[in-house]
């Protein structure tokens, strides 16, 4: 699944950096330290931008190419932060054969957000996920914590619009 490079500028704080250094210090010297450090870093920042990966690479003395290789290998890691509206389209077998691929493409077009990325204003992020275990609802997707199933093409766009309206209202 494509995990595209983020376009969102890095906004990490000094506090986060101090916490990250603590995490790294706790694992330094251990064999296989990169996995737990990356997992902890992702929960700290919400994603793994280049700046964070460079810090980890430098502190653990592991080449950045290796760190990035791990991050791009495992689907649990993301290079993009989650937007205020995070849309996750299930790409499990059942959903896929019932047209989840088309729905994903439709949403990407509708929100101007490529799968695996986030809009520049950080409002919408879109991801293709593995089976979320709701095959009876195929094709299924989640928007933040809400589940929408048995979708036909064209049905989800108005729903997304209500989230966008609400988000606009919050900002105003």
């Amino acid at each position: 699944m494509p995990n595209t490079k983020t376009t969102v500028p890095f906004a990490g704080t000094k506090e986060q950096e101090a916490q990250l250094l603590e995490i790294i210090a706790a694992h330094k010297g251990q064999a296989g330290a990169s996995m737990p450090v990356l997992q902890a870093a992702q929960s700290l920042y919400g994603y793994l931008p280049e700046e964070v990966q460079v810090m980890i690479a430098e502190e653990l003395d592991i080449p950045l190419s290796e760190i990035y290789g791990i991050v791009s290998f495992y689907s649990q890691f993301t290079l993009n932060p989650k937007g205020k509206i995070n849309i996750a389209v299930c790409m499990g077998t059942a959903c896929y054969v019932r047209g989840a691929g088309d729905i994903l493409d439709d949403i990407a077009k509708h929100t101007c957000c490529q799968s695996g990325s986030i809009t520049d204003d950080r409002t919408v992020s879109l991801e293709a996920t593995r089976c979320i275990g709701a095959c009876g609802l195929a094709p299924v997707l989640t928007i933040n914590d809400d589940v929408y199933g048995k979708l036909d093409r064209g049905e989800i766009e108005p729903v997304i619009d209500t989230y966008l309206e609400k988000e606009k209202g919050n900002r105003a």
Binding site: N3, K5, P9, F10, E50, E51, Q53, V54, P63, L64, S65, E66, I67, Y68, G69, S72, F73, Y74, L79
Partner: protein, 588 residues
């Protein structure tokens, strides 16, 4: 050493207990095919081309990583093995852009050879619509992932030998590809341009930037005088392009070939290396006297200089300020030879033949212009590119006569000659420095302690009552270890020679490509290096740089004192710190 007895294809073989099945089979004359395996560098058993049957084993095993044990029975040529290898090759081909006829590695491709050897006579699963995936963002390297077999040899040498690790395997499954972090171009990474990845690539996924067209254009331009000079290590490797044994010294034929290609003068970078000895030796003596910026570290290897600038900028003051022999050659051509010919330096086109890909990058660096606004060197061709030009011209290389370099800049001593192998620069410098410091003639000019293929070599010499401690290192991982030890105060030296490529220039990234199998069972560094030491004895009666008549004449008539004003202007340069993560926003 403990040994075990194993049976391979019913033939008993006694081999070291630490051997792999691959190594045991070689002992009885069986080549088990490999594609990803590189001894001590890339032993990952990933490509599955080397599979064999082992009696009692559940499935086929990878011979490159499977250790022998006593009483083991191995079969390397059963129907099951042949079928498995052929299927693996077919699957690799299914995702490989097969433009073999027009491919740079045609007839020198490990995948092609495997397909021939294994009778892969059709392609059942072809994707015929693969587009080239060209990445060419540096002066030295072209990557085309449509020909990559994901053997990961390039990734392994970049990290394990060179400590640079600017490439890795990105993404997963079918999307897996070799690239740089965040899909950056290599030009945005702290790559050192050493080209070690190219000489281990089994296919044409990695090739040098081809500059032959530029050189052909210059040769065809009547307004240009085109001079060429060859680096020391080229003459002991070029013959490999024409099927000659590794380590054949083809100096005379190489000169003849260059002359027949139409170069106006054929010169030797060895001569420039003699100038480098004079400058660097003078610099070393100056620093020994003042005690400043010790150890002095050599600056001939542009891969190393770039590594220093990017990864160890704190050692920049230790770097010799000397240009490399290539750049000294170019500088002397532009300031001196152009004047001698009474032509504009812009009309003197300087080509060098190098065992090196970083040299293509070096000519574009700042502070490499002895004549303002004019590059010291106009084009760099690797040994491989020269090999192709010779083939293009229809020259029967093996039948060429042996010719001599043009005397105007073609006389060199044994000092410059041995620059091409790890330890050569140090030895050449010592021959001159000892004589300068003691004021006496040095009888024994062989400094055996700094020779050989060891990654780090050390020696100490008493010179004029003073102890001079030297270290010679090659390969950037070894270099990192040495620099870290110096920083930690564990070791201390007065002079350090660093070559980016393991074994020095003889094993440079621009040298002819030998298959993984050949590399696994032959030490190219040692064979080509010995050829240089032997060539010195056979062909260079003068063995100390300061005895070179051209060196003596030019210092007397043109340059002045070594380390003097002109020398500094023409023959010295300066290094500058560069970011380790050039692509990162915060570094920009």
């Amino acid at each position: 050493m403990a040994t075990v007895k194993v049976k391979i294809n019913n033939i008993e073989v006694e081999c070291p207990s630490t051997a792999t099945v691959l190594e045991a089979a070689k002992l009885i004359g069986i080549e088990i095919p490999t594609l990803c395996y590189l001894k001590e560098i890339n032993a990952i058993g990933a490509c599955r081309v080397c599979v064999v049957e082992v009696k009692g084993a559940r499935s086929l095993v990878a011979a490159c990583v499977y250790p022998v044990n006593d009483g083991m029975e191995v079969f390397t040529n059963t129907q099951k093995v042949r079928d498995a290898r052929r299927m693996t090759l077919e699957l690799i081909l299914s995702n490989h852009r097969k433009d073999c006829l027009t491919c740079l590695r045609n007839q020198n491709c490990e995948l092609q050879k495997l397909c021939i050897d294994h009778g892969v006579d059709r392609v059942r699963f072809a994707d015929d619509n693969l587009e080239p995936q060209i990445e060419c963002s540096t002066a030295h390297l072209v990557r085309d992932n449509s020909k990559c077999v994901l053997c990961r040899r390039c990734v392994a040498v970049c990290k394990k030998n060179q400590d640079v690790a600017v490439i890795g395997a990105n993404d997963r499954g079918f999307a897996t590809h070799i690239g740089s972090p965040f899909e950056r171009n290599l030009g945005e990474m702290a790559c050192v341009s050493c080209g070690q990845c190219i000489i281990v690539c089994p296919t044409a996924a990695l090739t040098e930037v081809d500059d032959t067209a530029k050189v052909y254009d210059a040769l065809a331009d009547p307004s240009k005088t085109v001079v060429v000079a060859t680096a020391p290590a080229v003459r002991v490797a070029l013959g490999e392009c024409f099927g000659m044994p590794i380590g054949t010294n083809v100096e005379g034929k190489m000169v003849a070939a260059l002359r027949r290609l139409g170069f106006d003068s054929v010169f030797d970078v060895d001569t420039a290396a003699d100038f480098t000895v004079m400058e660097e030796g003078t610099e070393l003596i100056g620093r020994l006297n003042s005690g400043e910026n010790l150890p002095i570290i050599t600056s001939c290897s542009p891969g190393w200089v770039r590594y220093c600038e990017q990864y160890y900028p704190e050692f920049i003051p230790n770097l010799s300020t000397c240009k490399s022999p290539q750049q000294m050659f170019g500088a002397l051509m532009k300031v001196y030879y152009a004047k001698k010919l009474n032509i504009d330096p812009r009309d003197l086109y300087v080509v060098t033949i190098m065992p090196c890909t970083a040299k293509k990058y070096e000519i574009l660096k700042p502070h490499q212009q002895a004549v303002d606004g004019v590059f010291d060197v106009d084009a760099v061709l690797t040994t491989r590119e020269l090999g192709r030009m010779i083939s293009n011209a229809g020259l029967l290389f093996k039948e060429l006569p042996d010719e001599d370099f043009d005397p105007a800049f073609g006389i060199s001593t044994g000092a410059g000659y041995i620059f091409g192998t790890s330890g050569g620069v140090m030895e050449a410098a010592l021959r001159t420095v000892v004589e300068k410091l003691t004021g006496e003639v040095l009888d024994k000019v062989d400094f055996e302690e700094v020779r050989g293929v060891a990654g780090i070599k050390e020696a100490a010499y008493d010179i004029a009552g003073k102890q001079v401690r030297v270290a010679v290192v090659s390969g950037l991982t070894n270099t990192r270890q040495l620099l870290d030890d110096i920083k930690a105060g564990k070791v201390s030296y007065d002079a350090v020679e660093v070559m980016a490529c393991p074994g020095g220039c003889v094993n440079g990234g621009g040298q002819p490509i030998q298959s993984g199998f050949t590399q696994n069972f032959n030490d190219l560094r040692a064979i080509r290096g010995s050829a240089l030491y032997q060539g010195e004895l056979d062909t260079r009666p003068l063995r100390k740089a300061h005895e070179n008549p051209i060196v003596q004449e030019l210092y007397r008539d043109v340059i002045g004192e070594p380390g003097g004003k002109n020398a500094h202007h023409w023959l010295h340069t300066k290094a500058e710190a560069r970011p380790k993560y050039p692509g990162l926003a915060s570094e920009q």
